[in-house]
């Protein structure tokens, strides 16, 4: 997968990356845990169950955001 986009900057952001044309989604938790899946509903279940079943890698550098969400009333 090419570089991963990350736009939101909150402390509890869950991400799912998908490259159309491939079948695999990659879920990435804010804790760094990661998992591939072919079912988005299952993947959200796993992500949002944090910390259950999440084993983050030893060192994670948080992704940087290119821009802040504009519609947020305050941050």
């Amino acid at each position: 997968m090419s570089h991963r986009v990350a736009m939101l900057r909150g402390d509890t952001v869950y991400r799912i990356h998908w490259e159309p044309g491939t079948d695999v989604l990659v879920g990435v938790c804010h804790c760094g845990a990661e998992r591939g899946s072919e079912d988005p509903a299952d993947l959200w279940d796993w992500l949002l169950a944090h910390p259950d079943g999440h084993a983050p890698p030893a060192a994670v550098s948080p992704p940087t955001a290119d821009r802040q969400p504009v519609g947020a009333a305050h941050d």
């Binding site: 991963r4 736009m7 952001v13 991400r15 990356h17 949002l48 290119d66 821009r67 504009v70 305050h74």
Partner: protein
């Protein structure tokens, strides 16, 4: 399905509300809106306490509404200040009034417990009232539940099928998509960033870019009501500055306000703001016509879908695939918001 009460919803564009009484139903609650002599927007329940005649079918006299049936008269707060033929005004003679904030060209109303209405909670769409942008906008009535519109807007891949020829471009189909959920702030963000794409003729002509472009299409959904689609076009490799400003990009900000009218109908507000070719009427006409055409195609499809769903049991099976990633995230948050609507306020936990 009940509603996500205790949230702000767009009831109207500010320009729709003047010195005429204006009726609109939001979350199943009929409202009457008008602008006071001072210019502030007033929203009251649209039913006279006497025999439930719609106040919107009545007369505005100064800042009071005189019921068109027997003349009960209500002030801006909904208190009855006159009843016909007697001195005494019954203590319970008042209609509910709704907190209102005018912001970003919209009239936002709070549906829920009055004392929880905090204007800081209203998500922003600053472009719509910004002189550095030109905006075209409209509202289409949708005879379908609001969740169907949310599903529809969270997945732009349907544009190839439903909107062939309007907004699809070939690169879109092969662009990685990232879906993000900010649990605490309740934002869903879906990014499609094309690093190197052909410039559609519309953009080439209206921005003056020649050559290939970096093209971003980012959805930012603030459930329940506000949906933003940031469309950014810039010469290849040109990115926003570190501080978030973006002087070399061209922006089209598509804004939807998704306001349930009833459990089976929705007000579909749409607006398109741009920061280039500001005075170009042709560009305005193109954006207005193409976006409206797209909205109407969605309305037609969702009206059909609503009719089908109503004939089926509520636990019907669906099949979700990768394109539904964003829609599934939105549904989860909306479901939670509906569940919370029946709970007491967090701050009043005694």
């Amino acid at each position: 399905m009940t509603f996500a009460r205790n949230h702000w919803y767009v009831a109207a564009y500010g320009r729709e509300i003047g010195r005429e009484l204006f009726a609109r139903t939001v979350l199943g609650e009929p409202l009457v809106l008008y602008r006071s002599e001072e210019g502030e927007v007033v929203a009251l329940a649209d039913r006279c306490v006497h025999r439930r005649y719609p106040l919107s079918e009545s007369r505005l006299e100064g800042d009071t509404i005189v019921c068109g049936y027997h003349g009960f008269t209500y002030d801006k707060t909904g208190s009855c200040v006159f009843v016909p033929g007697q001195e005494r005004i019954p203590r319970t003679a008042r209609v509910p009034s709704y907190p209102v904030v005018e912001q970003d060209s919209f009239v936002w109303v709070w549906i829920g417990e009055r004392d929880r209405a905090d204007r800081e909670l209203i998500p922003r769409a600053p472009w719509l009232a910004d002189p550095a942008y030109t905006t075209v906008c409209g509202m289409e009535p949708l005879a379908a539940r609001s969740e169907l519109l949310v599903d529809n807007l969270m997945d732009l891949s349907h544009e190839t099928y439903l909107h062939g020829g309007y907004i699809g471009t070939p690169e879109v189909a092969n662009t990685p998509i990232t879906t993000e959920v900010d649990e605490d702030n309740r934002i869903i963000y879906v990014s499609r960033h094309m690093d190197d794409a052909a410039c559609p003729p519309f953009y080439a002509k209206s921005t003056g870019i020649d050559g290939r472009i970096t093209r971003w299409q980012d959805i930012e959904y603030h459930p329940p009501c506000l949906y933003l689609l940031h469309s950014r076009v810039a010469p290849v490799g040109v990115l926003p500055e570190a501080d978030g400003s973006d002087p070399h990009g061209f922006h089209v900000e598509v804004v939807y306000a998704i306001t349930p009218e009833t459990e089976h109908s929705t007000h579909d507000f749409w607006a398109v703001a741009r920061d280039f070719a500001l005075d170009n009427q042709e560009v305005s006409a193109f954006l207005r016509d193409s976006n409206r055409a797209v909205v109407l195609q969605d309305v037609t499809a969702l009206d059909i879908l609503e009719r089908v769903i109503q004939t089926e049991p509520p636990d019907r099976q669906e099949l979700s695939i990768n394109i539904d990633t964003g829609g599934l995230a939105a549904r989860r948050i909306l479901k939670r918001m509906v569940a919370e609507a029946g709970e007491p306020a967090k701050s009043a936990a005694t």
